[in-house]
Symmetry: C2
Subunit: 125 residues, 2 copies
């Protein structure tokens, strides 16, 4: 009896959420620094595999988003990993154009949460 079929297959069978999206974390292929988290739909993921550059799906604009097409901040794919149940992926990329973040920083995760600040324990959804 095999209970771990999805987990052990070598075939890439990405599992999209009910909204048709899968989260993708881009990381620098050299430093392993996490650069950003965005989403892909099937079309953008296929495009990513085809052109070997990160192509996301913009939830706010509701359209395919070839990162770098307007900013020059392309992400060249070096490798892709998927997780046990294949509902998330990590892109190891070479970040071009100076940085991944629209603020001009190398990556988007530049801000550390103050864990001693009790006031933040009551944020709303």
């Amino acid at each position: 009896m095999s209970e771990l079929k999805i987990e052990e297959t070598s075939t890439f069978k990405p599992k999209f959420s009910s909204d048709g999206l899968i989260p993708a974390v881009a990381m620098d292929f050299k430093t392993k620094e996490p650069l950003m988290l965005a989403y892909m739909n099937a079309e953008s993921l296929q495009k990513t595999l085809e052109i070997q550059q990160a192509v996301y799906y913009s939830r706010s604009r509701q359209e395919i988003w070839h990162k770098g097409a307007t900013s020059g901040q392309y992400q060249k794919i070096h490798s892709i990993k998927t997780d046990c149940d294949q509902d998330a992926i990590i892109l190891y990329v070479e970040q071009l154009g100076g940085g991944a973040c629209h603020t001009g920083r190398s990556g988007c995760f530049y801000r550390e949460v103050d864990l001693t600040d009790k006031a933040q324990l009551n944020f709303s959804e």
Copy 2:
């Protein structure tokens, strides 16, 4: 004129998706290895901050999921980072109980996608 209010505030104001969830990537605080990606709702994130252990929201079971409560695979929070627009978080954790993944591995991202396999260019949603 400030166009980067969300990006530059030091206040933690997590932005949940329309389904009330925010993706959280757990990484080993020492090795920076990505361990897993899961989701939190406001309640589970508040609980995470309170007990300093990762508490997720299970989308399949539709309930709060205190990781480790049944498996012993607790994740002790060392620090938390959020991204520019605060709609994703990274947890730097000390992974207890042997590993993060239910397959017994240290992390869930153990599988590399074969980028030369053209057959996978036509997966369905």
